[in-house]
């Protein structure tokens, strides 16, 4: 498979990664190589095989619906890049 720089820019946009034109070319070549390699899966006989999402096919463990975590907002916000009055700051999203 051969990805174009245009397709790479679209994927990068979905992945929320800024890429410039030069980088997009490099990624197009590398990702194309990787997808060529992954194409080996096309030869697998997977007719009727159930997908495996978890190594032990374990089921989701449930717990009682009880509060177990204390309020640690100050601790967690202490490592944030920008907070004010207990909220995280981001660029204006509503005009």
């Amino acid at each position: 498979m051969s990805l174009t720089s245009e397709e790479v820019r679209r994927i990068a946009q979905l992945a929320r990664l800024a890429v410039d034109d030069r980088e997009a070319e490099g990624f197009a070549a590398a990702l194309s190589d990787i997808f060529d390699f992954v194409e080996a899966l096309d030869g697998a006989d997977i007719e009727g095989v159930a997908p495996m999402a978890h190594p032990l096919d374990a089921e989701q463990r449930l717990r009682p619906d009880q509060v177990t975590e204390p309020d640690q907002r100050d601790l967690f916000q202490g490592i944030a890049p920008a907070v004010e009055g207990g909220v995280y700051l981001v660029p204006r999203v509503i005009e």
């Binding site: 929320r16 890429v19 997908p51 190594p55 981001v90 660029p91």
Partner: protein, 484 residues
């Protein structure tokens, strides 16, 4: 003072022949003197280590017993450590001071361990050479022009150079076993779910598993006793009774059936590595093990399946790095989208970006069935291969890596050739099985690893086989001359 093993130091601490402070100062001194040549530590926690050593000495003086009481260890910088930077080898987390301890760290601290510092690693554990770290590559103590393997390359190199008697690692596709092989140490990836993932920075959640790295199998068993156990904070943690992994080390190997997959000895295996592995297998045979030729017919599909499943999970897990709550944030974002895309572009390195983009693509609308669903089906075929094999044999053995430690830069320009470095290790992660690598010989001065893969929950057996091998051989005791 002559350097001892983790188990040996434990005995000497309990006999009060040495204090934890003396032992901790010995290793801190070695790190200070010798690490500049290999770059195995990202952070050294001298003050915290000495305080923990003094606390351990007080407990020892009172006659207390705990599995790792007073023993210095290194933590891979993927495990969150409260109050200590946890970088995961990434610029994204260069200033991230974890607000809590990972379960593994908490358990080891409770067992009395003294943390020397945090070890270098491939960025977000994505790499097989430790060259993708934001903090520069780790060098192999046996030859500084060669890589130590990855992603737990810092832990492997630190143990090999005896800058720590033991260290933690994590293994998503071979990241404990391959660096253990390249550096000549013993490393164990437990059964998926055996060691808690809580506070272990996520890469591919259905594959990630923490485990011990040390000089010997006996040391790994001691470490695993402290690391393993049910954790309600990890939704995939195994609910099984605690086990003493040191208990079965002395069992003999009479009648042990060792499966040798023909696919692990085919084309692409370095002939000198093959010879060293065959010599090691002969030692196991002499101790009573019976080799059985087996086939894992879908082995060739494991690396391609992995490079769909792991990037898909990675793209989802790494979506959390948004420049808002923690981690790197770009300066002067124009708008929210600019904040996201530029913070992530600046914070992540090239290999991490490649994997995020592969994962994003294979999960995107219209491609899910063609890639992710297909890879998950192949994953079951690979697990079924092992299920059949373990009907015939007790353990599976073969080379850990098809090659010797390669030169720095040798594979940097070709991601696929780097990925193939894990051709024998990845299947165990896809199936969720335990795997171990131990030093099995050398080619020149470079170590060769023998891999053992066990059935689910059979870590004790792998450690037993490795320990018996290490009773007969001295490969695990070799030390690189520059670090003697």
């Amino acid at each position: 003072m002559t350097l001892d093993t983790l188990t040996g130091w434990a005995r000497r601490l309990q006999a009060r022949e040495i204090s934890s402070r003396e032992l901790t100062e010995l290793y801190l001194g070695r790190i200070e003197r010798l690490d500049s040549g290999i770059n195995s530590f990202v952070t050294v926690t001298r003050d915290e280590a000495l305080a923990a050593a003094d606390a351990a000495d007080q407990r020892l003086a009172k006659g207390e017993r705990a599995p790792l009481l007073g023993l210095p260890v290194a933590q891979k910088d993927i495990f969150c450590t409260r109050g200590v930077r946890t970088s995961c080898g990434s610029r994204m987390l260069d200033s991230f001071v974890a607000p809590y301890d990972a379960s593994v760290v908490e358990r080891m601290n409770a067992a009395g361990a003294v943390m020397l510092g945090k070890t270098n690693m491939d960025e977000f554990a994505m790499g097989s050479s430790n060259e993708t770290s934001h903090y520069g590559p780790v060098r192999n103590p046996w030859d500084p022009e060669r890589v130590p393997g990855g992603s737990s390359g810092g832990s492997a190199a630190a143990v090999a150079a005896r800058l720590a008697p033991a260290a933690t690692g994590t293994d998503t596709g071979g990241s404990i076993r391959q660096p253990a092989a390249f550096c000549g140490v013993t490393g164990l990836k437990p059964t998926y779910g055996r060691v808690s993932r809580y506070g272990m920075i996520a890469f591919a959640s259905s594959l990630d598993q923490g485990g011990p790295m040390a000089a010997s199998a006996e040391d790994c068993a001691l470490m695993l006793n402290a690391m393993a156990g049910f954790d309600p904070r990890d939704s995939t943690s195994l609910q099984r009774p605690d086990e003493d992994f040191t208990a079965g080390l002395d069992r003999d190997l009479k009648g042990l059936r060792i499966g040798l997959p023909r696919e692990y000895f085919g084309d692409g295996l370095h002939p000198e590595v093959r010879r060293a592995v065959q010599d090691a297998l002969a030692v196991l045979r002499e101790r009573g093990a019976e080799p059985v030729e087996i086939s894992l017919p879908n082995s060739g599909l494991s690396v391609p399946a992995y490079y769909v499943v792991a990037p898909a999970e990675c793209s989802s897990n790494l979506a959390r790095y948004d420049g808002v709550r923690y981690g790197h944030r770009c300066s002067d974002p124009r708008d929210l989208m600019d904040l996201y895309t530029r913070s992530r572009a600046e914070g992540f390195g090239a290999e991490v970006k490649r994997r995020i983009m592969i994962g994003t693509y294979v999960l995107s609308a219209g491609y899910y069935d063609a890639y992710y669903l297909k890879a998950q089906k192949v994953r079951r075929l690979i697990a079924e291969d092992f299920r059949r094999a373990f009907g015939e044999v007790d353990v599976i053995a073969g080379p850990t890596s098809p090659e010797l430690p390669f030169r720095l830069g040798e594979k940097s320009a070709d991601p696929v050739s780097m990925y193939l470095s894990d051709i024998y290790t990845i299947a165990a992660n896809l199936a969720g099985l335990p795997g171990l690598s131990m030093p099995a010989g050398t080619v020149g001065s470079l170590p060769v690893g023998l891999q053992l893969i066990g059935n689910y929950f059979d870590e004790a057996r792998l450690l037993n086989v490795a320990h018996q091998f290490q009773q007969e051989t001295g490969w695990h005791q070799r030390m690189p001359a520059a670090f003697a």
